[in-house]
Symmetry: C2
Subunit: 134 residues, 2 copies
């Protein structure tokens, strides 16, 4: 069912510092910051030859990153996103296996404009997993 | 400097359960478990079209995964590994930027038989990053 590793999302406390670390110390290609107010994040993409890293920092009072950074003040790995061909099929399969989909169980439009779901980390070995229909 | 995302390593409390989750619920291709006693882990590879996930469980009393699982009993994302062409050049560059290399600062032979280093998570935004020479 799952296809490519679309991205790993890393929550960062200081986006400027993180950009410096990835672009200078690690020598990676880094995009300009983009504000995604509907997702409550300011994001920078680290472009790798086979996948990408998303550096997420909080934007606005309702950011989903705020609570994570309260627990992990230095930052850390936030979630991992895999691609699927058909998200409706994925939801049916996962729910049949007892996996909880976060929210109302229906796909939302994600940061890349495509349907996404997140699964409950307790049903996925402690990892927050996003599936994105491509 | 960094090239491909070589793997994301996920520490798991129960390897059999994790294999079931990734192979059945997520429908991914999963390798048979391999014991790597010199690294203190039993590992299963989840093979994705563009990268891989390593599911790590502790092996032996000195496992580097034990302390992580004590803090994260359900499991969680443990580290992320990027490829580099030349690990000696990478070490020189990182140390010049004030990034601490774990251990004695010299490469070790990693789980794939290639030279690897790990950087101090506090110098990398809270993320444990491995570099592997390919």
């Amino acid at each position: 069912m799952i296809g490519k590793l679309n991205h790993v999302a890393i929550a960062v406390a200081n986006l400027d510092e993180a950009v410096k670390t990835y672009s200078q110390s690690l020598g990676a290609k880094v995009s300009p910051p983009q504000d995604l107010p509907e997702h409550g994040v300011r994001v920078v993409f680290v472009e790798l030859p086979n996948s990408k890293i998303e550096l997420l920092s909080p934007l606005g009072a309702e950011s989903p990153i705020t609570a994570f950074l309260a627990k992990n003040p230095v930052g850390g790995m936030h979630h991992i996103c895999y691609e699927v061909d058909n998200i409706a099929t994925a939801i049916t399969k996962l729910q049949a296996d007892g996996v909880r989909i976060l929210g109302d169980g229906k796909p939302k439009i994600g940061a890349h404009g495509k349907p996404v779901i997140f699964m409950h980390p307790k049903d996925m070995g402690g990892v927050l997993i996003e599936l994105e229909e491509v």
